[in-house]
Amino acid sequence: MNVLDYLKGKAWLTAVLLLLGLVLLPFMVEASLGKSWLRILDFALLYIMLALGLNIVVGYAGLLDLGYVAFYAVGAYCWALLASPHFGLNLPFWVILPTGAAIAGLFGVLLGTPTLRLRGDYLAIVTLGFGEIIRIFLNNLNAPVNITNGPQGITQIEPVTIAGLSLGKTQEIFGITFSSPHLYYYLFLLFVALVVFVCMRLENSRIGRAWVAIREDEMAAAAAGINTRNIKLLAFAMGATFGGLSGGLFASFQGFVSPESFNLMESIMILSMIVLGGMGNIYGVILGALLVTMIPEALRYTGDLQRAVFGEVFIDPADLRMLLFGIALVLMMLLRPAGLLPSKLRRQELAEDAT
Protein backbone atom coordinates (compact mmCIF):
# COMPACT_ATOMS: atom_id res chain seq x y z
CA MET A 1 0.00 0.00 0.00
CA ASN A 2 2.92 2.30 0.76
CA VAL A 3 4.09 2.14 -2.82
CA LEU A 4 0.59 2.91 -4.07
CA ASP A 5 0.25 5.80 -1.66
CA TYR A 6 3.56 7.17 -2.83
CA LEU A 7 2.50 6.97 -6.47
CA LYS A 8 -0.79 8.73 -5.86
CA GLY A 9 -0.79 12.09 -7.60
CA LYS A 10 2.41 11.27 -9.50
CA ALA A 11 0.74 10.35 -12.77
CA TRP A 12 3.86 10.63 -14.92
CA LEU A 13 5.90 8.42 -12.61
CA THR A 14 3.14 5.80 -12.56
CA ALA A 15 2.93 5.92 -16.34
CA VAL A 16 6.68 5.53 -16.78
CA LEU A 17 6.81 2.60 -14.34
CA LEU A 18 3.82 0.97 -16.01
CA LEU A 19 5.36 1.37 -19.44
CA LEU A 20 8.69 0.01 -18.24
CA GLY A 21 6.93 -2.96 -16.65
CA LEU A 22 4.96 -3.70 -19.81
CA VAL A 23 8.08 -3.46 -21.99
CA LEU A 24 10.10 -5.76 -19.74
CA LEU A 25 7.26 -8.20 -19.04
CA PRO A 26 7.86 -10.49 -22.06
CA PHE A 27 11.55 -10.84 -21.14
CA MET A 28 10.59 -11.99 -17.67
CA VAL A 29 7.81 -14.27 -18.89
CA GLU A 30 10.00 -15.88 -21.52
CA ALA A 31 12.83 -16.43 -19.08
CA SER A 32 10.71 -17.84 -16.26
CA LEU A 33 7.72 -19.55 -17.89
CA GLY A 34 8.89 -20.12 -21.44
CA LYS A 35 7.77 -19.19 -24.90
CA SER A 36 4.36 -20.89 -24.63
CA TRP A 37 3.35 -18.42 -21.94
CA LEU A 38 4.52 -15.57 -24.09
CA ARG A 39 2.05 -16.77 -26.73
CA ILE A 40 -0.64 -16.96 -24.06
CA LEU A 41 0.20 -13.39 -23.13
CA ASP A 42 -0.21 -12.37 -26.77
CA PHE A 43 -3.59 -14.03 -26.90
CA ALA A 44 -4.54 -12.29 -23.69
CA LEU A 45 -3.83 -8.96 -25.40
CA LEU A 46 -5.97 -9.96 -28.37
CA TYR A 47 -8.79 -10.88 -26.03
CA ILE A 48 -8.46 -7.56 -24.21
CA MET A 49 -9.14 -5.83 -27.53
CA LEU A 50 -12.07 -8.12 -28.24
CA ALA A 51 -13.52 -7.72 -24.77
CA LEU A 52 -13.19 -3.93 -24.91
CA GLY A 53 -14.96 -3.95 -28.26
CA LEU A 54 -17.80 -6.10 -26.99
CA ASN A 55 -17.89 -3.95 -23.87
CA ILE A 56 -19.03 -1.01 -26.00
CA VAL A 57 -22.00 -3.01 -27.23
CA VAL A 58 -22.87 -4.92 -24.06
CA GLY A 59 -21.33 -2.87 -21.27
CA TYR A 60 -22.13 0.65 -22.44
CA ALA A 61 -25.14 0.34 -24.73
CA GLY A 62 -26.58 -2.71 -22.94
CA LEU A 63 -27.19 -4.68 -26.14
CA LEU A 64 -26.58 -8.34 -25.35
CA ASP A 65 -24.64 -9.60 -28.36
CA LEU A 66 -23.89 -13.35 -28.41
CA GLY A 67 -22.53 -13.38 -31.94
CA TYR A 68 -19.63 -11.01 -31.44
CA VAL A 69 -17.08 -13.55 -32.60
CA ALA A 70 -18.47 -13.11 -36.13
CA PHE A 71 -16.69 -9.76 -36.41
CA TYR A 72 -13.48 -11.35 -35.15
CA ALA A 73 -13.94 -13.91 -37.93
CA VAL A 74 -14.59 -11.25 -40.57
CA GLY A 75 -11.41 -9.42 -39.60
CA ALA A 76 -9.39 -12.61 -39.52
CA TYR A 77 -10.61 -13.83 -42.91
CA CYS A 78 -10.03 -10.39 -44.42
CA TRP A 79 -6.40 -10.64 -43.44
CA ALA A 80 -6.19 -14.29 -44.46
CA LEU A 81 -7.58 -13.67 -47.94
CA LEU A 82 -5.55 -10.54 -48.60
CA ALA A 83 -2.22 -11.88 -47.37
CA SER A 84 -1.84 -15.55 -48.19
CA PRO A 85 -1.09 -17.81 -51.15
CA HIS A 86 -4.80 -18.68 -51.26
CA PHE A 87 -5.49 -15.79 -53.66
CA GLY A 88 -1.82 -15.06 -54.18
CA LEU A 89 -2.20 -11.66 -52.54
CA ASN A 90 0.19 -10.08 -50.11
CA LEU A 91 -0.90 -6.56 -49.30
CA PRO A 92 0.94 -4.58 -46.61
CA PHE A 93 -0.56 -4.65 -43.14
CA TRP A 94 -1.44 -0.95 -43.08
CA VAL A 95 -3.80 -1.63 -45.98
CA ILE A 96 -5.29 -4.89 -44.73
CA LEU A 97 -5.83 -3.99 -41.10
CA PRO A 98 -7.98 -0.88 -41.69
CA THR A 99 -9.81 -2.68 -44.51
CA GLY A 100 -10.59 -5.63 -42.25
CA ALA A 101 -11.68 -3.37 -39.41
CA ALA A 102 -13.86 -1.30 -41.74
CA ILE A 103 -15.51 -4.36 -43.30
CA ALA A 104 -16.15 -5.77 -39.84
CA GLY A 105 -17.66 -2.41 -38.84
CA LEU A 106 -19.88 -2.56 -41.91
CA PHE A 107 -20.99 -6.04 -40.87
CA GLY A 108 -21.72 -4.59 -37.43
CA VAL A 109 -24.18 -2.14 -39.00
CA LEU A 110 -25.53 -4.84 -41.31
CA LEU A 111 -26.25 -7.21 -38.46
CA GLY A 112 -27.31 -4.42 -36.13
CA THR A 113 -30.00 -2.98 -38.39
CA PRO A 114 -32.51 -5.85 -38.25
CA THR A 115 -32.10 -6.16 -34.48
CA LEU A 116 -32.85 -2.53 -33.60
CA ARG A 117 -36.30 -3.27 -32.28
CA LEU A 118 -35.18 -6.23 -30.21
CA ARG A 119 -34.10 -6.21 -26.60
CA GLY A 120 -32.69 -8.52 -23.99
CA ASP A 121 -33.22 -12.22 -24.60
CA TYR A 122 -34.58 -11.75 -28.11
CA LEU A 123 -31.62 -9.68 -29.17
CA ALA A 124 -29.28 -12.29 -27.68
CA ILE A 125 -30.89 -15.10 -29.66
CA VAL A 126 -30.84 -13.22 -32.96
CA THR A 127 -27.21 -12.15 -32.58
CA LEU A 128 -26.32 -15.70 -31.62
CA GLY A 129 -27.90 -16.78 -34.90
CA PHE A 130 -25.92 -14.18 -36.85
CA GLY A 131 -22.70 -15.37 -35.29
CA GLU A 132 -23.44 -18.91 -36.38
CA ILE A 133 -24.48 -17.82 -39.88
CA ILE A 134 -21.10 -16.18 -40.45
CA ARG A 135 -19.26 -19.25 -39.21
CA ILE A 136 -21.34 -21.60 -41.37
CA PHE A 137 -20.80 -19.36 -44.38
CA LEU A 138 -17.06 -19.49 -43.83
CA ASN A 139 -17.33 -23.25 -43.52
CA ASN A 140 -19.20 -23.67 -46.80
CA LEU A 141 -17.89 -20.95 -49.09
CA ASN A 142 -15.51 -23.35 -50.82
CA ALA A 143 -17.94 -24.32 -53.56
CA PRO A 144 -18.87 -23.53 -56.30
CA VAL A 145 -16.16 -20.89 -56.06
CA ASN A 146 -13.51 -21.51 -53.46
CA ILE A 147 -13.39 -18.34 -51.39
CA THR A 148 -12.72 -19.45 -47.83
CA ASN A 149 -11.31 -22.92 -48.45
CA GLY A 150 -14.07 -24.35 -46.24
CA PRO A 151 -13.34 -26.33 -43.10
CA GLN A 152 -9.67 -26.75 -44.01
CA GLY A 153 -9.18 -23.06 -43.41
CA ILE A 154 -6.49 -20.86 -44.88
CA THR A 155 -2.85 -21.60 -44.21
CA GLN A 156 0.48 -19.85 -44.72
CA ILE A 157 -0.91 -16.46 -43.85
CA GLU A 158 1.71 -13.74 -44.06
CA PRO A 159 2.90 -12.29 -40.75
CA VAL A 160 2.96 -8.56 -40.11
CA THR A 161 5.95 -6.95 -41.76
CA ILE A 162 6.97 -3.49 -40.63
CA ALA A 163 9.68 -1.72 -42.62
CA GLY A 164 11.00 -5.02 -43.97
CA LEU A 165 11.07 -6.55 -40.51
CA SER A 166 8.92 -9.66 -40.35
CA LEU A 167 7.32 -10.25 -36.97
CA GLY A 168 6.88 -13.92 -37.88
CA LYS A 169 10.55 -14.76 -37.37
CA THR A 170 13.06 -14.39 -34.58
CA GLN A 171 14.84 -11.10 -35.05
CA GLU A 172 17.94 -9.59 -33.58
CA ILE A 173 17.69 -5.89 -32.85
CA PHE A 174 20.54 -3.98 -31.17
CA GLY A 175 22.05 -7.29 -30.16
CA ILE A 176 18.92 -8.42 -28.33
CA THR A 177 17.11 -11.47 -29.64
CA PHE A 178 13.36 -11.11 -29.98
CA SER A 179 11.27 -14.17 -30.70
CA SER A 180 8.18 -13.84 -32.90
CA PRO A 181 5.65 -13.88 -30.01
CA HIS A 182 7.82 -11.27 -28.32
CA LEU A 183 7.63 -8.96 -31.33
CA TYR A 184 3.89 -9.49 -31.66
CA TYR A 185 3.52 -8.70 -27.98
CA TYR A 186 4.74 -5.15 -28.61
CA LEU A 187 2.52 -4.75 -31.67
CA PHE A 188 -0.54 -5.99 -29.81
CA LEU A 189 0.31 -3.82 -26.82
CA LEU A 190 0.31 -0.81 -29.11
CA PHE A 191 -3.13 -1.69 -30.44
CA VAL A 192 -4.46 -2.42 -26.96
CA ALA A 193 -3.27 1.05 -25.94
CA LEU A 194 -5.09 2.50 -28.94
CA VAL A 195 -8.32 0.65 -28.12
CA VAL A 196 -8.12 1.63 -24.45
CA PHE A 197 -7.55 5.24 -25.47
CA VAL A 198 -10.59 5.20 -27.76
CA CYS A 199 -12.75 3.60 -25.07
CA MET A 200 -11.65 6.09 -22.43
CA ARG A 201 -12.29 9.09 -24.62
CA LEU A 202 -15.70 7.78 -25.66
CA GLU A 203 -16.74 6.78 -22.17
CA ASN A 204 -16.80 10.36 -20.96
CA SER A 205 -18.25 11.89 -24.08
CA ARG A 206 -21.64 12.87 -25.39
CA ILE A 207 -21.77 9.61 -27.35
CA GLY A 208 -20.70 7.51 -24.35
CA ARG A 209 -23.39 9.07 -22.18
CA ALA A 210 -25.96 8.40 -24.90
CA TRP A 211 -24.96 4.72 -24.95
CA VAL A 212 -25.31 4.38 -21.21
CA ALA A 213 -28.62 6.23 -21.30
CA ILE A 214 -29.95 3.70 -23.83
CA ARG A 215 -28.77 0.87 -21.60
CA GLU A 216 -30.48 2.40 -18.58
CA ASP A 217 -33.83 3.22 -20.21
CA GLU A 218 -34.26 3.26 -23.95
CA MET A 219 -37.61 5.04 -23.92
CA ALA A 220 -36.37 7.77 -21.62
CA ALA A 221 -33.27 8.11 -23.79
CA ALA A 222 -35.44 8.66 -26.85
CA ALA A 223 -37.54 11.19 -24.95
CA ALA A 224 -34.32 12.92 -23.86
CA GLY A 225 -33.50 13.54 -27.49
CA ILE A 226 -31.25 10.63 -28.40
CA ASN A 227 -31.67 9.16 -31.85
CA THR A 228 -31.65 5.64 -30.45
CA ARG A 229 -31.41 3.97 -33.86
CA ASN A 230 -28.23 5.78 -34.91
CA ILE A 231 -26.56 5.60 -31.53
CA LYS A 232 -27.23 1.86 -31.24
CA LEU A 233 -25.88 1.26 -34.73
CA LEU A 234 -22.82 3.29 -33.80
CA ALA A 235 -22.25 1.00 -30.83
CA PHE A 236 -22.56 -2.08 -33.06
CA ALA A 237 -20.19 -0.56 -35.59
CA MET A 238 -17.56 0.51 -33.05
CA GLY A 239 -17.64 -2.86 -31.30
CA ALA A 240 -17.41 -4.72 -34.60
CA THR A 241 -14.50 -2.55 -35.76
CA PHE A 242 -12.47 -3.54 -32.71
CA GLY A 243 -13.48 -7.16 -33.32
CA GLY A 244 -12.28 -6.93 -36.92
CA LEU A 245 -9.03 -5.29 -35.83
CA SER A 246 -8.17 -8.06 -33.39
CA GLY A 247 -9.31 -10.65 -35.95
CA GLY A 248 -6.76 -9.38 -38.46
CA LEU A 249 -4.01 -9.40 -35.86
CA PHE A 250 -5.02 -12.90 -34.83
CA ALA A 251 -4.78 -14.22 -38.40
CA SER A 252 -1.31 -12.78 -38.92
CA PHE A 253 -0.09 -14.01 -35.55
CA GLN A 254 -1.51 -17.51 -35.92
CA GLY A 255 -0.66 -17.91 -39.61
CA PHE A 256 -3.74 -20.04 -40.00
CA VAL A 257 -7.48 -19.48 -39.75
CA SER A 258 -10.37 -21.93 -39.93
CA PRO A 259 -14.07 -21.58 -39.10
CA GLU A 260 -13.45 -23.73 -36.02
CA SER A 261 -11.80 -20.80 -34.22
CA PHE A 262 -14.96 -18.73 -34.37
CA ASN A 263 -17.61 -20.83 -32.67
CA LEU A 264 -20.22 -19.82 -30.15
CA MET A 265 -17.94 -20.78 -27.27
CA GLU A 266 -15.59 -17.94 -28.24
CA SER A 267 -18.43 -15.41 -28.07
CA ILE A 268 -19.42 -16.73 -24.68
CA MET A 269 -15.84 -16.59 -23.40
CA ILE A 270 -15.49 -12.97 -24.48
CA LEU A 271 -18.80 -12.15 -22.83
CA SER A 272 -17.74 -13.89 -19.62
CA MET A 273 -14.57 -11.78 -19.57
CA ILE A 274 -16.74 -8.66 -19.45
CA VAL A 275 -19.17 -10.05 -16.91
CA LEU A 276 -16.37 -11.37 -14.72
CA GLY A 277 -14.31 -8.22 -14.81
CA GLY A 278 -17.12 -5.72 -14.46
CA MET A 279 -19.39 -4.65 -17.26
CA GLY A 280 -18.85 -1.12 -18.49
CA ASN A 281 -15.55 -0.61 -16.68
CA ILE A 282 -12.43 -0.54 -18.85
CA TYR A 283 -10.09 -1.73 -16.10
CA GLY A 284 -12.54 -4.43 -15.08
CA VAL A 285 -12.84 -5.69 -18.64
CA ILE A 286 -9.05 -5.79 -19.04
CA LEU A 287 -8.71 -7.73 -15.80
CA GLY A 288 -11.50 -10.08 -16.86
CA ALA A 289 -9.85 -10.73 -20.23
CA LEU A 290 -6.51 -11.46 -18.58
CA LEU A 291 -8.01 -13.84 -16.03
CA VAL A 292 -10.23 -15.74 -18.44
CA THR A 293 -7.30 -16.26 -20.85
CA MET A 294 -4.73 -17.11 -18.19
CA ILE A 295 -6.63 -19.19 -15.64
CA PRO A 296 -7.62 -22.07 -17.94
CA GLU A 297 -4.01 -22.20 -19.15
CA ALA A 298 -2.66 -22.24 -15.61
CA LEU A 299 -5.08 -25.01 -14.71
CA ARG A 300 -3.38 -27.23 -17.28
CA TYR A 301 -0.74 -27.81 -14.62
CA THR A 302 -3.28 -29.75 -12.57
CA GLY A 303 -2.12 -32.79 -14.57
CA ASP A 304 1.39 -32.48 -13.17
CA LEU A 305 -0.04 -31.88 -9.73
CA GLN A 306 -2.13 -35.06 -9.87
CA ARG A 307 0.90 -37.04 -11.01
CA ALA A 308 2.96 -35.65 -8.16
CA VAL A 309 0.33 -36.41 -5.51
CA PHE A 310 -1.30 -39.61 -6.73
CA GLY A 311 1.36 -40.93 -9.05
CA GLU A 312 -1.02 -40.92 -12.02
CA VAL A 313 -3.50 -38.63 -13.78
CA PHE A 314 -7.05 -39.40 -12.64
CA ILE A 315 -8.90 -36.66 -14.41
CA ASP A 316 -7.82 -35.25 -17.73
CA PRO A 317 -6.59 -31.71 -17.02
CA ALA A 318 -8.60 -30.49 -20.02
CA ASP A 319 -11.82 -31.62 -18.31
CA LEU A 320 -10.74 -30.55 -14.88
CA ARG A 321 -9.78 -27.05 -15.87
CA MET A 322 -13.17 -26.35 -17.42
CA LEU A 323 -14.80 -27.68 -14.25
CA LEU A 324 -12.64 -25.52 -12.01
CA PHE A 325 -13.16 -22.57 -14.29
CA GLY A 326 -16.91 -23.10 -14.05
CA ILE A 327 -16.76 -23.28 -10.27
CA ALA A 328 -14.65 -20.13 -10.21
CA LEU A 329 -17.25 -18.31 -12.31
CA VAL A 330 -20.12 -19.47 -10.10
CA LEU A 331 -18.26 -18.38 -6.95
CA MET A 332 -17.49 -15.07 -8.59
CA MET A 333 -21.12 -14.45 -9.37
CA LEU A 334 -22.14 -15.32 -5.83
CA LEU A 335 -19.52 -13.17 -4.15
CA ARG A 336 -19.19 -10.28 -6.61
CA PRO A 337 -22.23 -10.27 -8.86
CA ALA A 338 -21.30 -6.93 -10.41
CA GLY A 339 -17.86 -8.20 -11.45
CA LEU A 340 -14.41 -7.85 -9.95
CA LEU A 341 -14.18 -4.14 -10.69
CA PRO A 342 -17.72 -2.89 -11.11
CA SER A 343 -18.11 0.37 -12.97
CA LYS A 344 -19.17 3.51 -11.16
CA LEU A 345 -18.40 1.94 -7.79
CA ARG A 346 -15.50 4.23 -7.18
CA ARG A 347 -17.43 7.28 -8.22
CA GLN A 348 -20.30 6.26 -5.98
CA GLU A 349 -17.95 5.83 -3.06
CA LEU A 350 -16.47 9.24 -3.71
CA ALA A 351 -19.93 10.76 -3.75
CA GLU A 352 -20.77 9.09 -0.46
CA ASP A 353 -17.54 10.34 1.07
CA ALA A 354 -18.42 13.88 0.07
CA THR A 355 -21.84 13.88 1.71
Binding site: R201, L202, R206, G208, A220, A221, I226, K344, A351
Partner: protein, 256 residues
Protein backbone atom coordinates in the same frame (compact mmCIF):
# COMPACT_ATOMS: atom_id res chain seq x y z
CA UNK B 1 -51.42 35.30 -26.16
CA UNK B 2 -50.40 33.38 -29.27
CA UNK B 3 -50.92 29.68 -29.81
CA UNK B 4 -47.98 27.40 -29.10
CA UNK B 5 -49.35 23.91 -29.64
CA UNK B 6 -52.32 23.05 -31.80
CA UNK B 7 -53.74 19.58 -31.48
CA UNK B 8 -56.51 18.68 -33.92
CA UNK B 9 -58.56 15.49 -34.06
CA UNK B 10 -55.88 13.21 -32.66
CA UNK B 11 -57.04 9.60 -32.38
CA UNK B 12 -55.25 6.52 -31.18
CA UNK B 13 -56.73 3.04 -31.16
CA UNK B 14 -55.21 -0.10 -29.70
CA UNK B 15 -57.01 -2.89 -31.50
CA UNK B 16 -60.64 -2.34 -30.63
CA UNK B 17 -59.92 0.00 -27.75
CA UNK B 18 -60.33 3.63 -28.60
CA UNK B 19 -57.77 5.23 -26.31
CA UNK B 20 -58.16 8.67 -27.88
CA UNK B 21 -60.93 9.86 -30.17
CA UNK B 22 -60.73 13.15 -32.05
CA UNK B 23 -59.03 15.10 -29.29
CA UNK B 24 -58.48 18.76 -30.18
CA UNK B 25 -57.22 21.67 -28.11
CA UNK B 26 -54.81 24.55 -28.22
CA UNK B 27 -52.09 25.45 -25.74
CA UNK B 28 -51.23 29.14 -25.62
CA UNK B 29 -47.77 30.53 -25.12
CA UNK B 30 -46.86 31.16 -21.50
CA UNK B 31 -49.72 29.34 -19.80
CA UNK B 32 -49.96 26.32 -17.57
CA UNK B 33 -52.33 23.99 -19.35
CA UNK B 34 -53.90 21.16 -17.37
CA UNK B 35 -55.02 17.77 -18.67
CA UNK B 36 -57.34 16.06 -16.23
CA UNK B 37 -59.78 13.20 -16.24
CA UNK B 38 -60.64 10.04 -14.36
CA UNK B 39 -58.26 7.05 -14.35
CA UNK B 40 -57.98 5.52 -17.79
CA UNK B 41 -59.31 8.60 -19.52
CA UNK B 42 -56.35 8.64 -21.92
CA UNK B 43 -54.24 11.43 -20.43
CA UNK B 44 -50.93 9.60 -20.59
CA UNK B 45 -51.83 8.13 -23.98
CA UNK B 46 -52.34 11.70 -25.15
CA UNK B 47 -48.88 12.70 -23.90
CA UNK B 48 -47.34 9.64 -25.53
CA UNK B 49 -49.06 10.38 -28.82
CA UNK B 50 -47.90 14.01 -28.71
CA UNK B 51 -44.28 13.21 -27.85
CA UNK B 52 -43.83 10.43 -30.38
CA UNK B 53 -43.77 7.41 -28.09
CA UNK B 54 -46.99 6.28 -29.75
CA UNK B 55 -47.85 6.90 -33.37
CA UNK B 56 -51.27 8.55 -33.49
CA UNK B 57 -53.68 7.04 -36.03
CA UNK B 58 -55.03 10.32 -37.33
CA UNK B 59 -54.93 14.01 -36.52
CA UNK B 60 -52.60 16.97 -36.67
CA UNK B 61 -50.10 18.18 -34.07
CA UNK B 62 -48.47 21.50 -34.66
CA UNK B 63 -45.87 23.29 -32.52
CA UNK B 64 -45.50 26.90 -33.73
CA UNK B 65 -45.59 25.91 -37.35
CA UNK B 66 -43.67 22.62 -37.09
CA UNK B 67 -45.73 19.47 -37.53
CA UNK B 68 -45.01 16.90 -34.84
CA UNK B 69 -47.43 14.36 -36.24
CA UNK B 70 -45.83 10.90 -36.32
CA UNK B 71 -42.36 12.24 -35.76
CA UNK B 72 -39.69 10.41 -33.73
CA UNK B 73 -39.35 11.30 -30.03
CA UNK B 74 -35.92 12.89 -30.52
CA UNK B 75 -37.22 15.04 -33.37
CA UNK B 76 -40.11 16.23 -31.23
CA UNK B 77 -37.74 17.07 -28.41
CA UNK B 78 -35.51 18.96 -30.78
CA UNK B 79 -38.52 20.93 -32.01
CA UNK B 80 -38.93 22.15 -28.42
CA UNK B 81 -41.40 19.78 -26.75
CA UNK B 82 -39.98 18.00 -23.70
CA UNK B 83 -41.71 15.72 -21.22
CA UNK B 84 -41.41 13.78 -17.98
CA UNK B 85 -42.94 10.42 -17.14
CA UNK B 86 -45.64 9.34 -14.73
CA UNK B 87 -43.47 6.55 -13.34
CA UNK B 88 -40.14 8.36 -13.13
CA UNK B 89 -37.77 7.21 -15.87
CA UNK B 90 -34.26 8.26 -14.98
CA UNK B 91 -30.92 6.76 -15.97
CA UNK B 92 -30.48 5.11 -12.59
CA UNK B 93 -26.81 4.27 -12.72
CA UNK B 94 -25.76 7.67 -13.94
CA UNK B 95 -25.14 10.63 -11.68
CA UNK B 96 -27.63 13.48 -11.44
CA UNK B 97 -25.27 15.65 -13.48
CA UNK B 98 -24.91 13.03 -16.20
CA UNK B 99 -28.68 12.61 -16.41
CA UNK B 100 -29.06 16.29 -17.16
CA UNK B 101 -26.12 16.25 -19.56
CA UNK B 102 -27.88 13.50 -21.54
CA UNK B 103 -30.88 15.81 -21.69
CA UNK B 104 -28.70 18.27 -23.59
CA UNK B 105 -27.96 15.73 -26.32
CA UNK B 106 -29.94 17.62 -28.96
CA UNK B 107 -28.32 20.94 -28.08
CA UNK B 108 -24.78 19.59 -28.42
CA UNK B 109 -23.03 18.22 -31.47
CA UNK B 110 -19.78 16.41 -30.61
CA UNK B 111 -19.48 13.08 -32.39
CA UNK B 112 -17.02 10.21 -32.12
CA UNK B 113 -14.18 11.97 -33.89
CA UNK B 114 -14.47 15.14 -31.81
CA UNK B 115 -14.46 13.04 -28.63
CA UNK B 116 -11.41 11.05 -29.75
CA UNK B 117 -9.42 14.10 -30.74
CA UNK B 118 -10.60 16.24 -27.81
CA UNK B 119 -10.98 19.14 -30.18
CA UNK B 120 -11.20 22.62 -28.73
CA UNK B 121 -14.86 22.77 -29.71
CA UNK B 122 -15.54 19.46 -27.99
CA UNK B 123 -13.81 20.50 -24.77
CA UNK B 124 -15.66 23.79 -24.67
CA UNK B 125 -18.94 22.06 -25.38
CA UNK B 126 -18.36 19.55 -22.57
CA UNK B 127 -17.46 22.35 -20.15
CA UNK B 128 -20.48 24.41 -21.13
CA UNK B 129 -22.77 21.39 -21.00
CA UNK B 130 -21.54 20.51 -17.53
CA UNK B 131 -21.95 24.08 -16.28
CA UNK B 132 -25.43 24.30 -17.79
CA UNK B 133 -26.43 20.98 -16.20
CA UNK B 134 -25.11 22.05 -12.81
CA UNK B 135 -27.02 25.30 -13.09
CA UNK B 136 -30.23 23.39 -13.82
CA UNK B 137 -29.70 21.07 -10.86
CA UNK B 138 -29.40 24.12 -8.64
CA UNK B 139 -32.41 25.63 -10.38
CA UNK B 140 -34.68 22.71 -9.48
CA UNK B 141 -33.22 22.54 -5.98
CA UNK B 142 -30.89 19.53 -6.05
CA UNK B 143 -27.65 21.39 -6.65
CA UNK B 144 -25.85 19.57 -3.86
CA UNK B 145 -26.56 16.13 -5.35
CA UNK B 146 -24.46 16.63 -8.50
CA UNK B 147 -22.52 13.39 -8.23
CA UNK B 148 -25.15 11.23 -6.57
CA UNK B 149 -26.40 8.33 -8.64
CA UNK B 150 -29.97 8.96 -9.75
CA UNK B 151 -31.21 5.79 -8.05
CA UNK B 152 -29.91 6.99 -4.70
CA UNK B 153 -31.92 10.22 -4.77
CA UNK B 154 -35.08 10.56 -2.74
CA UNK B 155 -38.39 10.26 -4.56
CA UNK B 156 -39.05 13.99 -4.66
CA UNK B 157 -35.52 14.70 -5.84
CA UNK B 158 -35.89 12.12 -8.60
CA UNK B 159 -38.94 14.00 -9.85
CA UNK B 160 -36.95 17.24 -9.80
CA UNK B 161 -34.07 15.59 -11.61
CA UNK B 162 -36.43 14.43 -14.33
CA UNK B 163 -37.67 17.97 -14.75
CA UNK B 164 -34.09 19.25 -14.90
CA UNK B 165 -33.26 16.67 -17.59
CA UNK B 166 -36.27 17.81 -19.63
CA UNK B 167 -35.32 21.47 -19.17
CA UNK B 168 -31.81 20.77 -20.41
CA UNK B 169 -33.13 20.56 -23.96
CA UNK B 170 -34.29 24.21 -23.67
CA UNK B 171 -37.89 23.37 -24.53
CA UNK B 172 -40.63 25.79 -25.49
CA UNK B 173 -43.20 23.45 -24.02
CA UNK B 174 -42.72 21.10 -21.09
CA UNK B 175 -45.24 18.35 -20.43
CA UNK B 176 -45.29 16.98 -16.88
CA UNK B 177 -47.08 13.66 -16.32
CA UNK B 178 -48.33 13.62 -12.72
CA UNK B 179 -45.29 15.35 -11.25
CA UNK B 180 -46.86 15.59 -7.79
CA UNK B 181 -47.78 11.92 -7.52
CA UNK B 182 -46.53 10.49 -4.24
CA UNK B 183 -45.15 13.79 -2.98
CA UNK B 184 -45.75 15.08 0.51
CA UNK B 185 -47.34 18.54 1.00
CA UNK B 186 -43.97 20.26 1.36
CA UNK B 187 -42.65 18.73 -1.82
CA UNK B 188 -45.88 19.64 -3.60
CA UNK B 189 -45.51 23.26 -2.58
CA UNK B 190 -41.93 23.35 -3.79
CA UNK B 191 -43.01 21.80 -7.09
CA UNK B 192 -45.77 24.33 -7.43
CA UNK B 193 -43.34 27.20 -6.85
CA UNK B 194 -41.00 25.70 -9.43
CA UNK B 195 -43.76 25.47 -12.03
CA UNK B 196 -44.89 29.03 -11.40
CA UNK B 197 -41.36 30.38 -11.67
CA UNK B 198 -40.76 28.41 -14.89
CA UNK B 199 -43.86 30.02 -16.33
CA UNK B 200 -42.60 33.42 -15.27
CA UNK B 201 -39.44 32.70 -17.25
CA UNK B 202 -41.59 32.25 -20.33
CA UNK B 203 -41.89 28.47 -20.43
CA UNK B 204 -45.23 26.94 -21.34
CA UNK B 205 -46.28 23.93 -19.29
CA UNK B 206 -48.68 21.07 -19.80
CA UNK B 207 -49.67 19.20 -16.72
CA UNK B 208 -51.44 15.93 -16.03
CA UNK B 209 -52.41 15.91 -12.40
CA UNK B 210 -54.80 14.16 -10.07
CA UNK B 211 -54.48 16.58 -7.20
CA UNK B 212 -57.49 18.76 -8.01
CA UNK B 213 -56.47 21.48 -5.60
CA UNK B 214 -53.08 21.78 -7.25
CA UNK B 215 -54.50 21.72 -10.77
CA UNK B 216 -57.28 24.20 -10.13
CA UNK B 217 -54.93 26.50 -8.29
CA UNK B 218 -52.14 26.63 -10.81
CA UNK B 219 -53.60 26.01 -14.27
CA UNK B 220 -54.69 28.84 -16.52
CA UNK B 221 -56.81 26.56 -18.63
CA UNK B 222 -57.72 22.88 -18.64
CA UNK B 223 -58.90 20.17 -20.93
CA UNK B 224 -60.91 17.29 -19.45
CA UNK B 225 -60.75 13.81 -20.98
CA UNK B 226 -63.10 10.92 -20.36
CA UNK B 227 -62.99 7.61 -22.21
CA UNK B 228 -60.51 9.09 -24.66
CA UNK B 229 -62.71 12.03 -25.62
CA UNK B 230 -62.53 15.67 -24.73
CA UNK B 231 -65.55 16.54 -22.61
CA UNK B 232 -64.62 20.07 -21.58
CA UNK B 233 -62.04 22.81 -22.11
CA UNK B 234 -61.64 26.18 -20.44
CA UNK B 235 -60.58 27.99 -17.30
CA UNK B 236 -60.70 26.12 -13.99
CA UNK B 237 -63.89 27.95 -13.03
CA UNK B 238 -65.69 27.00 -16.22
CA UNK B 239 -64.53 23.39 -16.05
CA UNK B 240 -65.41 23.03 -12.39
CA UNK B 241 -69.06 23.78 -13.07
CA UNK B 242 -69.40 21.81 -16.27
CA UNK B 243 -72.09 19.16 -15.75
CA UNK B 244 -70.27 16.66 -17.98
CA UNK B 245 -67.14 16.97 -15.85
CA UNK B 246 -69.09 16.54 -12.64
CA UNK B 247 -70.77 13.48 -14.12
CA UNK B 248 -67.45 12.00 -15.24
CA UNK B 249 -65.90 12.42 -11.81
CA UNK B 250 -68.90 11.65 -9.63
CA UNK B 251 -70.70 9.25 -11.94
CA UNK B 252 -74.31 9.38 -13.00
CA UNK B 253 -76.21 10.67 -15.99
CA UNK B 254 -75.71 14.09 -17.47
CA UNK B 255 -78.81 16.13 -16.95
CA UNK B 256 -79.02 18.66 -19.75
Amino acid sequence: MSDLLRVANVSKHFGGIKALTDVSFTVRKGEIFGVIGPNGAGKTTLFNALTGLYQPDTGAIDLVGTSLYRRKPHEILKAGFARTFQNIRLFHNMTALENVMVGRHTRTTSGVLAALLHTAHNRKEERDCMAYAQQLLTRVGIGKHTHTLAKNLSYGDQRRLEIARALASEPKLLALDEPAAGMNPNEKNALRDLMVSLREEGLTLMLIEHDVKLVMGICDRLVVLDYGQKIAEGTPDVVRHDPKVIAAYLGGEVVV
